[in-house]
């Protein structure tokens, strides 16, 4: 019984934009011809198939590429932590995101070893295509996800240094290592079997993702030494733990009508536990801060109190 449906259809493009529609999203002059079902073309895949425009339309939504099995295992684990078996989101105040996207690097990236005095430095070029991130999804956190498949026995504690640099693409689309924005991480980790290591790169990638960059190209140098500097054990011969190229994990806040906004309902339940929840037009700030209530809202709630 909400009038929301109208608002959603009036809403400017903000849902998932299939690549061919990208141009119209990026360049408002290239608006879709009136005849084309705009609302349908911009829906996320699940809502697209639910609108049941015939199997030929959503066949294109069936994945053409199979995801990496480790990445799939990680996301299933994230699902179990975030939702019940029936799929109900857990009322977890700490998690502000309502969307998590995992991208594996494009296959054409090369994995290069360079032998240096200090042993192997694993360096790899990573190219992530972010076409699936919609215009209404705001970045809350981004993480490089390494999975250490330690089939070879390694020392229980490793100290790794990871050096990231972002590479701009020049107009011809060639990768030319301009003066890279680079950042170095040093992290100490206890590597157990099948260990996931999350490296927070939010501040590093924020500027690129905020400008809705479709492709992110970065170089990663990864060196691991045995031992633990805290225990001032001597860091000795490098360990040849060849980490699998990392995946890029984006924690996002989808502000579209169809996405679930827990803070709206949490806030609402706290204020009016009895009245059925209604949708207010409150816009949530992407950094997770809840926008201030409009002044008349305050007066009304004061009257109600």
């Amino acid at each position: 019984p909400h009038s929301r449906g109208r608002a959603a259809s009036d809403r400017t493009s903000g849902f998932l934009v299939a690549p061919e529609d990208n141009a119209s999203e990026l360049n408002p002059l290239l608006q879709l011809p009136k005849g084309v079902r705009r609302g349908y073309a911009l829906l996320p895949p699940l809502l697209k198939v639910l609108s049941d425009r015939g199997p030929q339309n959503w066949e294109s939504e069936v994945p053409r590429l199979q995801p990496d099995s480790r990445a799939l295992r990680y996301m299933k684990r994230l699902y179990k932590m975030s939702a019940t078996k029936e799929g109900i989101p857990k009322a977890n105040k700490s998690h502000l995101y309502n969307t998590v996207r995992l991208f594996t690097p494009c296959s054409e990236c090369k994995h290069r070893h360079r032998d240096l005095m200090k042993g192997d430095v694993h360096s790899v070029d990573l190219l992530f295509n972010l076409d699936r991130v919609t215009a209404l999804e705001y970045l809350l956190k981004s993480v490089l996800l390494y999975s250490f498949d330690t089939s070879v026995p390694v020392s229980p504690s490793l100290t790794c240094t990871c050096h990231l640099s972002v590479k701009e693409q020049d107009s011809s689309g060639q990768v030319c290592p301009s003066i890279p924005h680079s950042i170095a991480f040093s992290l100490h980790l206890e590597v157990k079997k099948r260990k996931w290591v999350e490296i927070d790169v939010t501040s590093f990638l924020q500027p690129l993702i905020a400008t809705k960059r479709r492709n992110i190209h970065m170089g990663v140098n990864f060196t691991c030494l045995m031992g633990d500097p805290q225990q001032n054990t001597k860091l000795e011969n490098p360990v040849n733990v060849a980490p699998v190229p990392p995946s890029l994990l984006l924690y996002l806040n989808d502000t579209s009508e169809q996405a679930y906004h827990r803070w709206n309902s949490l806030r609402h339940i706290r204020k009016n536990p009895r009245r059925p929840r209604q949708r207010n037009g409150l816009r949530v700030d992407p950094t997770g801060d809840i926008g201030k209530e409009p002044s008349q809202g305050k007066r009304a709630s004061r009257q109600r109190r």
Partner: protein, 130 residues
């Protein structure tokens, strides 16, 4: 005696059934269970979780005096009056969902990336007459 002769011979145990029709109209508007699995729709290749999904649905007749029972606005009774007294082409109030709960879905996108998304209003949790 005459009255008794006319009165239908009802067995004592039917009395409770007999009165029930006044207390609880038959198939009144209420929430019904429905459970589906994405494999039935052949979507399980790209919808990884949940395996089963219970959207539920609302079905049943809206009693004439809906009032507080369904949280219906007064308009519902006005619409019912129009249908009964003035113009039967105006539809009776319908039994529809009043509240929903969200659903978390894990899917594989066409480019092979994986997305966890929480969708609003995917499970009906309460019915009303409108």
């Amino acid at each position: 005696d005459e009255n008794l002769k006319e009165a239908p011979a009802t067995q004592p145990y039917n009395l409770s059934e007999y009165f029930k029709q006044f207390l609880f109209p038959q198939n009144e508007c209420e929430l019904h269970n429905f459970r589906l699995s994405f494999s039935q729709l052949k979507w399980d290749k790209w919808i990884i979780a949940p395996h089963r999904y219970s959207p539920q649905y609302c079905k049943g007749d809206c009693p004439r005096v809906v009032g507080h029972r369904y949280g219906s606005p007064v308009h519902t009774m006005v619409q019912n009056l129009i249908y009964e007294k003035l113009d039967s082409s105006v539809p009776k109030p319908s039994c529809v969902p009043a509240e929903y709960s969200p659903l978390s879905v894990l899917t594989i996108e066409p480019d092979g990336s994986i997305v966890y998304k929480e969708y609003e209003d995917m499970i009906a949790t309460k019915c009303t007459c409108r």
